[in-house]
């Protein structure tokens, strides 16, 4: 189920928007540009594409955005006019990692998290 207006709390993860006018679409895409996770766009053609939006040219006569799709080496450019829905489908990688949250965690949880990050780096051969 998609919303037609944006959530005022600013939380985006797992939300979907189906804007009804260009201004709302532009605002939703601005949030998508600011979002540190993957976003799925539904296009007028019916196609759905998921990727990371890293750039947008909102002030151009024909506004567009650029996104990296997983597995593609070159970015894809999409005009705002092609987009009918915006879904924040990927994990917000910047969420839930505040300093306060880190401090509030039990020492054992902090150690477990540090160990998990270290294990991930080791598995990739980065340690």
């Amino acid at each position: 189920m998609s919303d037609t207006t944006l959530d005022s709390s600013g939380r985006c993860e797992a939300r979907s928007y189906r804007p009804t006018n260009p201004a709302d679409l532009a605002e939703a895409l601005e949030r998508a540009f600011d979002y540190r996770g993957d976003v799925t766009l539904e296009l007028r053609s019916g196609e759905r594409i998921e990727g990371y939006i890293f750039n947008r040219c909102a002030d151009d006569p024909s506004p567009s955005l650029q996104m990296y799709l997983a597995g593609d080496s070159t970015p894809r450019r999409i005009r705002y006019a092609e987009i009918v829905a915006v879904m924040f489908t990927g994990e917000d990688t910047a969420s839930g990692k505040s300093w306060e949250a880190w401090v509030k965690k039990k020492e054992s949880d902090r150690k477990a998290e540090a160990d998990r990050i270290a294990a991930d780096a080791r598995a990739r051969g980065h340690l």
């Binding site: 993957d38 040219c57 990296y68 990927g90 990688t93 300093w99 990050i117 980065h126 340690l127």
Partner: protein
């Protein structure tokens, strides 16, 4: 002197040439981010929060060399992510050194000892080691125990093999001036060529939003850290920038001074803000609305005093005014006169 004379001469010649040519905006240090993947997850870092498929992307050596040529800055700083994770980093550095760029490879040093064989000592190459304080402070900042000792060991190994080594330190509002002074002593005792220091920036995406410094707090902190500097301390940065941090100078930001190139392109407008990307360096310089950025012009710039915006302002002061030049000479020759 922390910066070798030949490097100082190269930078001075470059800046004066730009001024003689009447170039209003020119880059001083190119920030090259070949990847965002890191093997740490520091609480103050806003550079690594991306989906995995973005973290797995890397610039090729050819993309790095082309960007450095396009930009033309005499110094290339390579942060990240952790640059030593990049399997072609040695080739990237070699190509930049071949182009006579002064390269500062910024690393947390976890992989440095293992990778040293891939590099050749050169006056153009400096390993800039991320050190945020003594053991207790550094390990806390990088959110992992034992990293300070790993870095110290790597510094010693790099120095013993003839590499230029500096440190780069980001200070947060919980910094204890006396502990920072002890840390400077420890780094100089290690034998590093010089130290770089900067206040942290409040990345919107960084987990640690409480600990970033506000302007007045920054000045107060740096006054307490840098007053009566010890004779042996050497800083690998403009002395006027240190004056600025202490509140003795006031500068406006020079966001084009350290242009940033990464897997997304040329970042607008600076290393810290992400307002979009330009496809070419010229597009970045020509199309960015520079007048919208800097203290008093943009809310996200309000408290920023970070080196990537203000060191270029300090260098411009050195070569833009007799007063600035004489102060730089004085502070370089008599670093304790602060």
């Amino acid at each position: 002197m922390a910066v070798p004379i030949l490097q100082m001469f190269t930078v001075a010649k470059y800046v004066l040439t730009q001024k003689l040519k009447g170039v209003e905006r020119y880059p001083l240090v190119m920030m090259l981010e070949p990847l965002f993947r890191c093997n740490l997850a520091c609480a103050g870092c806003g550079k690594i929060q991306y989906p995995d498929h973005v973290l797995d992307r890397r610039l090729t050596p050819e993309q790095c060399w082309k960007a450095a040529e396009e930009c033309g800055a005499p110094i290339v700083s390579i942060p990240g992510g952790e640059p030593l994770i990049h399997p072609e980093m040695a080739a990237i550095v070699k190509g930049l050194v071949h182009r006579k760029k002064y390269v500062y490879l910024c690393t947390n040093a976890i992989l440095l000892e293992r990778k040293l064989d891939e590099y050749t000592p050169s006056k153009y190459l400096t390993f800039s080691i991320h050190m945020d304080g003594l053991k207790e402070e550094h390990d806390l900042a990088v959110c992992r125990d034992g990293i300070y000792e790993v870095a110290v060991k790597a510094v010693k190994a790099a120095l013993s093999r003839g590499f230029r080594v500096t440190t780069n330190t980001t200070l947060f509002n919980d910094a204890e001036p006396e502990r920072v002074r002890q840390f400077f002593d420890a780094m100089m005792e290690l034998g590093v060529e010089g130290m770089m220091v900067s206040p942290g920036y409040s990345y919107e995406k960084a987990p640690d939003q409480k600990n970033f410094l506000k302007r007045e707090r920054t000045r107060d902190l740096f006054r307490r850290i840098l007053h009566h500097p010890k004779k042996g301390w050497r800083f690998n940065q403009s002395p006027l920038f240190l004056d600025f941090l202490m509140g003795k100078k006031d500068y406006q930001c020079t966001p084009w001074g350290n242009p940033t190139f990464n897997i997304f392109g040329w970042q607008k407008p600076c290393y810290l803000l992400q307002e979009g990307y330009a496809a070419t360096f010229q597009e970045l310089m020509n199309k960015t609305k520079w007048e919208q950025y800097g203290t008093g012009r943009h809310e996200q710039c309000a408290d920023c005093m970070v080196h990537c915006g203000y060191e270029a302002s300090a260098v411009n002061d050195t070569f833009g005014s007799f007063k600035g030049f004489t102060r730089t000479v004085q502070a370089t020759l008599i670093p304790t006169a602060r």
